[in-house]
């Protein structure tokens, strides 16, 4: 990294720490990317990514049967383009799920929703071959009973981990847990409940204490969290759960807006039907985030109005809600004009025009496979990676249980497939979350490479 880039990074970190930085100014205009779904405090890849790290669930009876980080070469100039170049098994099936990079992008934190372990991978020493640096095994004991480390989200020098459950009843009441980048426990922030709103205002009918995803809007000194369900539900057979009326009552119906600096919840909003991923807008005059409700299949806007007052609004249906398409991962563009929305049950990716955030319109729909969960886009929006697994026991059964990583190119009008890796044929497991790696982040070059990709914040 050259000195000007270093300066930029320190400037961004300082602004971020102050919580007032206009992060949109750091994004390339017109960019569309999973990179823009990441923390604004994090270093970014704006050129060609060299690798995709796929946090993969082990399948009992397949290969070594354990969770692993799968490294795929994604640089078309490489001889191993489109191939698995490394796998790192971590021991056990931990319900591998989401992962997130530290703000300096040196380490990838990957959570296990079942065993509550957080695996910290070193991705900077050799981006082609990550190593396991540390395993946090006492997440539940240290946090005071939080179960299900989900989102691992970069704040300056910190990782904020959202929980999904607890060690008392394996239900949905849970907390945020803060760590240092070194992996030292800092604090637990329980989600507001009716008997203890922790200073927040219950704006509607619900304050369930559930959690799921988190995103920050530093310019507004805000964090936004969503709510899913507890261990009993996310671990159990999906069909069994749908048939269990008691279990179906245990889903989150809230979005909470927090004070980013103080980590205090401010307002709890009704967003019924399990709001999952949160994606916040980037432009300096766009004071909103999107989320989707998995069960009720709606796109929701969480927004601050001209008077600085937060609110929520259902702004579009996703597919036919009567068929429960189950919207899962979403990806916003950094110009805030488009949003990719995957629906698990029909294996379809959908593109919404969100240039009017209060009136999104679907402009594209394409089937990716029998099932699809995650979507990750390159910084320039030209490359979209898709994986399949939702949860070990929620994935489809039988022949519909396809497990793959697929790369598509997007030209603004259509998606065209470039390569596909069958994770079952390769004896790897269930392909879940993807994060990108690049030599250029660490002022390195690929062995034998003639040029250096550019990375910047």
């Amino acid at each position: 990294m050259n000195s000007s880039k270093l300066r930029n990074r320190f400037l961004a970190a300082a602004l971020g720490a102050a919580g007032v930085c206009t992060v949109a100014g750091l994004a390339a205009p017109g960019a569309v990317a999973d990179e823009t779904c990441q923390s604004p405090y994090m270093a970014k890849i704006v050129g060609q990514e060299d690798f995709v790290y796929v946090w993969t669930l082990g399948i009992e009876g397949l290969g070594d049967g354990q969770d692993k980080l799968v490294t795929v070469d994604t640089n078309p100039k490489s001889k191993t383009y489109g191939k698995v170049v490394a796998t790192l098994s971590v021991g056990g099936r931990n319900e591998a799920h989401h992962s997130g990079l530290t703000d300096d992008r040196q380490y990838l934190w990957a959570g296990g929703l079942d065993t509550n372990k957080i695996f910290i991978f070193d991705v900077h020493t050799d981006p082609a071959k990550p190593t396991l640096h540390k395993v946090i095994e006492d997440f539940t004991a240290k946090s005071g009973g939080v179960v299900g480390p989900h989102t691992t989200y970069a704040l300056p020098g910190r990782m904020m981990v959202t929980g999904l459950s607890n060690n008392q009843d394996h239900g949905g009441r849970t907390a945020l847990v803060e760590y240092t980048n070194a992996g030292d426990y800092v604090a637990t922030y329980w989600m507001p409940t009716d008997d203890n709103l922790r200073g927040a205002k219950k704006t509607g009918k619900y304050a369930d204490g559930y959690g799921y995803d988190i995103r920050a809007l530093p310019r507004l000194n805000a964090m936004v969290t969503s709510s899913f369900t507890g261990w009993s539900n996310y671990m159990m057979d999906f069909g069994k759960m749908l048939s269990d009326p008691e279990a179906m009552k245990r889903f989150g119906n809230t979005v909470t807006v927090w004070n980013l600096h103080t980590r205090q919840p401010q307002e709890v909003f009704d967003v019924p039907g399990a709001p999952l991923e949160i994606r916040c807008a980037w432009q300096p005059n766009h004071n909103y985030c999107f989320t989707t409700t998995a069960l009720t299949s709606k796109l929701w806007l969480v927004y601050q109005d001209d008077n600085g007052k937060w609110g929520t609004k259902a702004v579009a249906d996703i597919g036919d809600p009567a068929k429960i398409p189950l919207p899962v991962d979403i990806s916003i563009s950094s110009d805030d004009n488009h949003l990719w929305v995957n629906t698990f049950m029909d294996g379809t990716t959908r593109l919404f025009d969100i240039s009017d955030p209060f009136a999104p319109k679907q402009v594209l729909e394409q089937r990716i496979g029998a099932q699809v969960n995650m979507v990750s886009s390159s910084w320039d929006g030209k490359r979209l990676y898709y994986t399949t697994s939702l949860l070990n026991n929620w994935d489809k059964k039988g022949k519909d249980n396809e497990q793959f990583l697929k790369l598509y190119h997007w030209d603004g009008k259509q998606l065209s497939k470039q390569f596909e890796i069958d994770f079952l044929k390769e004896k790897l497991g269930r392909a879940h979350q993807m994060r990108f790696g690049a030599y250029s982040l660490y002022a390195k070059q690929a062995p034998g490479a003639g040029e250096t990709e550019i990375a910047q914040r």
Partner: protein, 427 residues
């Protein structure tokens, strides 16, 4: 015993007895805390409690005196001669019961399915969920008063609590420990257990007998009586039971015929005959064609009919459940399940061996219609012709069976440490 054999023996377990009826959470912190009453309607509002309430309400109690003097309405607790109840064994059993490290991957304790504030059952699931989310075929039964039963699990396949404890510990779809030896090794290595087994069992360390004995002593101490009914029936308090519950009791003994299986004695009542009966619930689940669509709740007041073919795509194949037959291989025992006690029934929804009925009112309606007709239906299950007010009275009676020591037992459970894995590792 092989792991396969253990799995077969305990398939669908965590299950010590049979059906139970509906929760009516008190909202006092000694019940669930994630209340979903009224969730079916658009006007549902949360009344959630923070998990801190567990710490705030925790109060360790000496449960041992119940072995000398059980609560009103209950007989002396049968204690086997080879496992005398001692305070040290009781304390050790309590510690084991709440220790999540006792599962293969450190995620499940006994208490994760038998949740104290959910009636030592699970109000949030029809069917239990095991290690890595594996399917358990049956509802997690309450452990209240389990020490009185001669048959354990819904199908009665075990006869002693000391032995029963090992089945969930070793079942692949429950706590999934690979072997008896591995459980013993784990407990021998845990520093916080050092000396506890020796103290409780005359110098012996953890072994197959002492681990089972300690867990049995704790679960045996979970007796609950002294309910409004007990005070009225056995305590000489004529005002303890309200008029509706008294009418319900008359129906229970008379027109409803309930007491023929849920027995009430002269000096005590366990509300069970410890026998096995076919009410049609098991037969219905196994033998009737799948519905074309089922009604699924998506949010408060929001339901959708979902086609069965959609649900089938995300469902593991059914393992079936033939009840007591799986133990005896006698065709006459097909779809028979153990008669549960009715004590604390208001705390232990959902009901029946498969959790298929959600409320006490549904259960009473089910019996009033005569169960589900099938070739093996118990002759005592027949249409009862109860009127709506009569069914309400029966529910009122069932709600009067909640023990007066629930708070003590739950507060004591809250005071027990939850064993979670500790210590990070650098690689």
């Amino acid at each position: 015993m092989s792991r396969r054999a253990i799995t077969a023996l305990s398939a669908g377990c965590l299950l010590l007895c049979a059906a139970h009826l509906r929760a009516s959470p008190a909202g006092d912190g000694y019940s669930g805390g994630d209340y979903r009453e009224g969730y079916e309607g658009h006007d549902y509002v949360t009344r959630s409690l923070s998990l801190d309430t567990r710490t705030q309400r925790a109060r360790a109690s000496d449960l041992w005196p119940v072995f000398q003097a059980p609560p009103l309405g209950l007989p002396p607790i049968p204690v086997p001669a080879d496992n005398p109840a001692t305070p040290a064994a009781l304390a050790l059993g309590r510690k084991l019961f709440f220790d999540r490290r006792l599962s293969l991957n450190g995620t499940l304790s006994c208490a994760m399915c038998h949740v104290p504030e959910q009636g030592f059952a699970n109000n949030e699931l029809a069917l239990a969920v095991g290690l890595e989310g594996r399917i358990v075929r049956r509802n997690a039964p309450t452990l209240y008063n389990v020490g009185y039963f001669r048959h354990l699990f819904h199908d009665g396949r075990e006869t002693r609590l000391e032995q029963q404890a090992w089945l969930p510990l070793l079942a692949h779809n429950e706590m999934a420990n690979p072997s008896v030896g591995e459980v013993i090794r784990k407990l021998s290595d845990l520093a916080d257990y050092r000396g506890l087994f020796a103290q409780a069992f005359g110098g012996r360390g953890p072994d197959m007998e002492t681990i089972g004995a300690a867990l049995a002593t704790y679960t045996r101490a979970l007796v609950s009586g002294g309910s409004a009914f007990d005070r009225w029936r056995y305590g000489g308090d004529s005002q303890a039971l309200n008029a509706a519950a008294r009418r319900g009791y008359e129906l229970f003994r008379g027109k409803g015929g309930c007491a023929s299986c849920h027995r009430v004695g002269r000096s005590s009542a366990l509300f069970t005959d410890d026998g096995f009966h076919n009410t049609g619930v098991g037969w219905y689940a196994a033998m009737t064609p799948a519905r074309r669509a089922i009604r699924v709740q998506l949010a408060p007041g929001v339901f959708r009919m979902v086609n069965s073919d959609i649900i089938a795509k995300v469902s593991a194949p059914s393992e079936g459940d033939v009840g007591r037959y799986e133990v005896t291989l006698d065709p006459a025992d097909r779809w028979k399940y153990k008669t549960p006690s009715l004590r604390n029934i208001a705390l232990t929804a959902p009901y029946m061996h498969n959790g298929s009925l959600q409320t006490l009112a549904e259960v009473v309606r089910f019996y009033n219609q005569g169960g589900y007709a099938n070739p093996g239906l118990d002759p005592r299950i027949r249409p009862l012709n109860l009127s709506a007010p009569e069914m309400q009275d029966l529910v009122a009676f069932l709600q009067a069976l909640t023990g007066d020591n629930v708070e003590t037992l739950v507060a004591d459970a809250f005071a027990a440490p939850i064993g979670d894995p500790e210590a990070d590792s650098a690689r």
